[in-house]
């Protein structure tokens, strides 16, 4: 399958030109195929989030090229980056980042609002997406009335709003207990398998990472290891299986 994400020789430096200049990514090359489920693991401070932000078009690399769905991200304007984030990428954060004063459904509607989808249509789609993640009966609830797992399901539904090709999740289970985390991971696997989404997942848990097609290990801003996960070996098919 074609690569949807292609990173070549990516460097990221902070405080450029100052005495405390800091290079946190040292020439990473990485390709992710369409429909692939990739996990990124590595110790704290190894540069996982930094890399994820580059992949998500939230940040631009200091050096190197990044092709997202065939488009060179380095050449995009601010508004074009917004457009890429809106239509091609769905973000899921460790801290959920739901907007507090509005209902779960309104949160899911938000990316569709930015895509100027008519109100009625986006309400129906938001409801539908919430049902996919098992939150259909909680659509009217505000985030502070939801459990952590429910919040993250809502956030996943929101990431799916504009039907992006790629889902990026930065430690989506980090704030959840392991059982709830596993359920959330199941949703990602379902979206990957049954809805064809490319998933890039950052996690601290090697056990969770095992469920993906490919596991990439980062250390001090470089890739130090790459191996196949159990999902790719066909040992991890089927729902609700234990760790």
């Amino acid at each position: 399958m074609a690569d949807i994400i292609t990173l070549k020789d990516i460097y990221k430096r902070y405080f450029i030109g100052k005495s405390n200049e800091l290079e946190v990514i040292h020439g990473i090359g990485l390709s992710v195929a369409e429909g692939e489920f990739v996990s990124i693991v590595g110790e704290s401070g190894s540069g996982k989030s930094t890399l994820m932000n580059i992949i998500g078009a939230l940040d631009r690399p200091t050096e190197g090229t990044y092709f997202l769905d065939g488009v060179n991200v380095a050449a995009l304007s601010q508004d074009e980056l917004s457009l890429a984030r809106k239509m091609k990428i769905g973000f899921v954060f460790q801290t959920f980042n739901l907007i507090g004063r509005i209902s779960a459904r309104a949160n899911v509607e938000l990316p569709m609002t930015y895509a100027r989808m008519p109100r009625k249509e986006r309400q129906e789609r938001a409801q539908h997406l919430l049902e996919i993640v098992g939150m259909g009966d909680r659509a009217k609830h505000q985030p502070n009335e939801l459990s952590g797992g429910q919040k993250q399901r809502t956030a996943i539904a929101r990431a799916m709003a504009n039907d992006p090709a790629i889902l990026l999740a930065d430690e989506p289970t980090g704030a959840l207990d392991s059982e709830t985390g596993l359920k959330v991971l199941d949703i990602f696997r379902d979206l990957n398998k049954n809805h064809g989404k490319t998933v890039v997942l950052i996690t601290h848990s090697n056990a969770l990472a095992e469920h993906s097609d490919r596991i990439i290990t980062l250390k001090d801003g470089v890739i130090i290891g790459e191996r196949r996960g159990s999902a790719d070996r066909g040992e991890d098919r089927g729902e609700g299986d234990a760790l």
Binding site: N53, L83, K86, F91, I99, T113, Y114
Partner: protein, 427 residues
Amino acid sequence: MKFLDNFREAIGSLLMNKMRSILTMLGIIIGIGAVIAIMTLGASMTAYITETMSGFGINNITVMMRAKTDEGPVLYMSTGGMNAYKDKDLITEEMMDGLKEEYPDEIKAFSVSEIIGNGQTEKGADYANLSLSGVNPEYITANNLTLIRGRFINDQDEAVGRRLAVVSDKLVSNIFGDENPLGQEIIIRTQNHIDNYTIVGVYEYSSGNNIMLGAVMASSSSDYDVSTDVYIPLSVAKKVMNTKGYSSFTVVTENGINSTEFSKTIESYFSKYYARNEDFGIGTFSMESTVSEITSMMSTISLAIAAIAAISLLVGGIGVMNIMIVSITERTREIGTRKALGATNGEIRMQFIVESVVICLVGGFIGIALGMALGAIGAALLGFTAKATVTSILLSVGVSSAIGVFFGFYPANKAAKMDPIDALRYE
């Protein structure tokens, strides 16, 4: 993101912090409220003045004797305090003829009156209060009287000295009811005289056309007791009063003459006659100058209140800006999230500008309601009918929105320019 979505979100975030929103709006509410209150009051007052004074022709200049000890402008003819004058102090026909000769292009006519005094006429158990005056034939035009029956006093009546009277419809309804008053004799009793007159005409009474304006403004008597003018020929009145001149008369100017300026000319004309008179001089009073005096007084007050309102709106605007900065800082993560979800910088900016405009507009609307209520209460206390002006409301809405945009722009722009990653990482 569409405007309506922004609007909905803005309302939502206002409702989140109701107390804070209200406090933020306070400056705007006070500023707009003050503007609306004063504009409502001003409009009501102007309407009242125009209505009350419309009986007085705009082309008229009233010329009257005035004690030299009096200071300031003469607003109303006052009979009190004028009793001390002697025949030598009065305005003579020669003086008036001289004025007319000197300014034939400016003067259309003189309307002259001689007040005999307040009195009453009775018929059976019915009575009518009145104020008896002798007037010349020009009086009717100079004072915009509307004749509804019969005729007014004419030159022949003056020459012959007929004992005729023109009365108000009010007097007629008091004592004659539906009976035809024309040709009827009435006995009029004033302080020092009792005489009978034949009614030849009836004019339409309106509170504006009393000869003694002051008396009407102060009157709180019942409708039945209201005193109206009874006009008799000037020559008759002069005989009754045995006077050699006039204490006042009205100059009807030709159209297009600036009565404020011509008033000064008249005063200087008379000053030569009164230069050596120690007690009296001549003062003038014109509708135009009175209205412009009141208008300029109103606009001074308005200006003062507008200044207060402007300061209040400025402080209010700064308050809105401050709260927007606080709100944006609090919502940094939200802004980062929105950007990650695909919001453009422009959409973030618009969201916060709309929010700021909504705060100001809601404040503005509360201010309009409050100001209108205050203006109406003020107008009621002063005895005017409240008149809200559409201009002032449109102006307030415009000013509120403008403040919202102006003071919202900086915080909104700050939000728009946030780096999404920094914003998402914000603790």
